[in-house]
């Protein structure tokens, strides 16, 4: 496997990891954010606090604990091995788990903010038209929170691309499996291969810029059409 092959594998892997993480979080965090935005339960602030917690631990340390949690010796890791036959550590799926946990706040918070801005009366209007709460959520609250979704997905995706502390610890830098771009770039810098580091960093930045600009441009077009 040549260096370019190595790099392109890493790029594909990174895109896959960030994509899957964003998707998983979209599915998981949306109901949570909705609940947080609407609930009036006394324990809501505590759930909110827990949601933000993954942020305060340094990635490597979080990785350390995830490693403990995922290890085949642990309950969770062991159960995973029993069910799937493969370990959670040093595997792509393990990375996804870790990234999901780590990026949770980036998905939840913008969504929650956006959901809180949805007028309660519009939901009442929807239910008077026969829409169940779930229906109203999907057809009224979500479209109105579109900008929040965009913001949340971008933060999550970009952050997963850039993250490497957790990934390095839980993933073990296995080419094609857990060796994402950020690790490659890190290695370049660590081994003083500055030219390659510059090239890759530039590539990453330019690529991200193009993708992000496109998303924002589309978002604008979309909003002009929708709203």
């Amino acid at each position: 496997m040549g260096l370019m092959g190595d790099l392109s594998t890493a790029i594909v892997l990174t895109a896959k990891l960030a994509g899957v993480t964003t998707l998983v979080l979209l599915v998981m965090a949306t109901p949570l954010a909705w609940w947080l935005a609407r609930s009036k339960r006394w324990f809501k602030p505590f759930v909110e606090a827990v949601t933000a917690l993954p942020l305060v631990l340094p990635p490597t340390v979080l990785g350390f604990y995830l490693l403990l949690l995922f290890s085949p010796d642990s309950t969770l890791g062991g159960a995973w091995v029993d069910f799937t036959g493969s370990t959670l550590t040093f595997s792509f799926i393990g990375l996804v788990f870790a990234s999901v946990l780590y990026s949770l706040p980036f998905m939840v918070q913008p969504l929650q903010t956006a959901f809180e801005a949805v007028d309660e009366e519009l939901l009442n209007a929807a239910s008077s038209l026969g829409a169940s709460p779930f229906d109203a959520f999907v057809t009224v609250a979500c479209p109105l929170a579109l900008r929040g979704f965009l913001s949340a997905c971008i933060l999550t995706f970009a952050h997963t691309v850039g993250e490497f502390g957790v990934v390095l610890m839980v993933g073990g830098s296995l080419p094609g499996e857990t060796r994402v771009i950020s690790i490659v770039l890190y290695e370049y810098v660590e081994t003083l291969r500055f030219d390659e580091a510059h090239d890759l960093a530039l590539l990453l930045v330019v690529f991200s810029f193009v993708v992000l600009s496109t998303v924002y441009l589309l978002n604008r077009r979309l909003r002009f059409r929708i709203a």
Binding site: G130, T139, V140
Partner: protein, 361 residues
């Protein structure tokens, strides 16, 4: 087929407490001063606001807090027209209407053309709701509620943002919705004319309590209700029977008590049918003899039942009887004194045909 309400709603310091049974047909007007709790009543019925007590709509128990029953709004099958419109900002006009239509039964969704046509929504289907004028917005909100094919329509001042012409155009549509589809409505309005035109009965609210409930005729005649609702439009409501249409002069003749009166053509009512007319006190004058050479066509022999004068008011209210019907005339106290009007006196009530025409809503 009734809507049984025994409901309490608390909102801040305000408390609404209503115990009434309303028939589930025709239109019930909810009338009362600003802040009376009209919107709160409707919101409680719709389930938008926490309420206690019991609500039963036909066979279905919507709310029974003693048993922990509280049907969610979307299963109550009601249409709601909000005081502020509440159109979905992320959908255009057509999107808003289709939203309702798609969630209604198949039969109901065939209403599309009729609703769109009646409310003149064609031209604005593709428009964003943000670009609608106040009146246009309310028309869309009304159309949306109708398209959801509700079992009960709750309307919170749906026409107050509309100009007279639009009101006059939409009222018949509401009348039709009520009559043809037998769609029961609760209708909040500040306009007496809308109420007279549409309502079969009136529920008067003030300070969160029901002050009166009864047939429109009876309620609107009650002076206490009139002072509550702040209206000056005292009047009587009479039932008359159509006996002929004059297609040339565009007049309809009606028999009412012992008298025959004419009014602008009511083509949709066939001879033999009866109509309800609201005759305002201020539109009725009194003459001692039958006047000649006068443009007022309706001269009805009547007997004075009572003359109510108030030294603090320039007016007298004269209560008249003709056959089994009652009329009221509001004249100046000066006139009552000069003509020496007293109970028992036989007089003529003068009613302009024009006053019986399309009301100035």
């Amino acid at each position: 087929m009734t809507l049984h309400i025994d409901m309490q709603v608390t909102a801040g310091e305000f408390r609404l407490s209503v115990t009434e049974t309303l028939p589930m047909d025709g239109c019930t007007a909810v009338f009362g001063p600003s802040g009376a709790g009209k919107s709160t009543l409707l919101r409680g019925l719709a389930g938008f606001q926490f309420a206690t007590g019991r609500i039963q709509c036909e066979e279905t128990v919507w709310l029974d807090s003693s048993r922990g029953t509280d049907m969610p709004s979307h299963t109550r099958r009601l249409g709601y027209v909000f005081q502020q419109g509440q159109l979905f900002p992320h959908l255009n006009v057509e999107g808003n209407l289709r939203y309702a239509q798609r969630r209604a039964s198949a039969a109901a969704s065939m209403q599309w053309d009729r609703v769109v046509k009646a409310l003149e929504l064609d031209a604005m289907l593709a428009r964003k709701v943000q670009t609608l004028s106040g009146g246009e917005r309310q028309r869309v909100a009304l159309g949306r509620a109708l398209l959801s094919a509700p079992r009960l329509l709750l309307l919170d001042e749906p026409l107050s943002a509309l100009d007279n012409q639009r009101k006059a155009e939409i009222l018949p549509f509401l009348e039709r919705a009520k009559d043809e589809f037998r769609l029961p409505m609760l209708y909040v309005s500040h306009s007496l004319d809308e109420v007279t035109r549409l309502a079969d009965r009136v529920l008067v609210l003030a300070g969160g309590e029901v002050k009166a409930l009864g047939e429109t005729v009876a309620i609107l005649e009650r002076l206490d209700v009139q002072s509550l609702t702040g209206t000056f439009e005292a009047g009587a409501i009479v039932t008359a029977t159509v006996f002929g249409h004059d297609q040339t002069r565009l007049l309809t003749s009606l028999r009412f008590g012992d008298a025959v009166i004419t009014m602008p053509l009511l083509l949709h009512i066939s001879p033999g049918q009866s109509v309800r007319l609201r005759i305002r006190s201020r539109d009725v004058a009194i003459a001692l003899q039958r006047p000649e050479g006068i443009s007022i066509r309706n001269v009805v022999a009547a007997r004075i039942l009572d003359v109510v004068s108030d030294p603090a008011s320039p007016y007298s209210e004269v209560l008249l009887e003709t056959g089994s019907e009652h009329l009221r005339a509001r004249i100046t106290r000066a006139a009552a004194e000069d003509l020496d009007l007293n109970p028992g006196l036989r007089v003529y009530a003068l009613i302009k045909s024009v006053a019986l025409g399309k009301p100035d809503i």
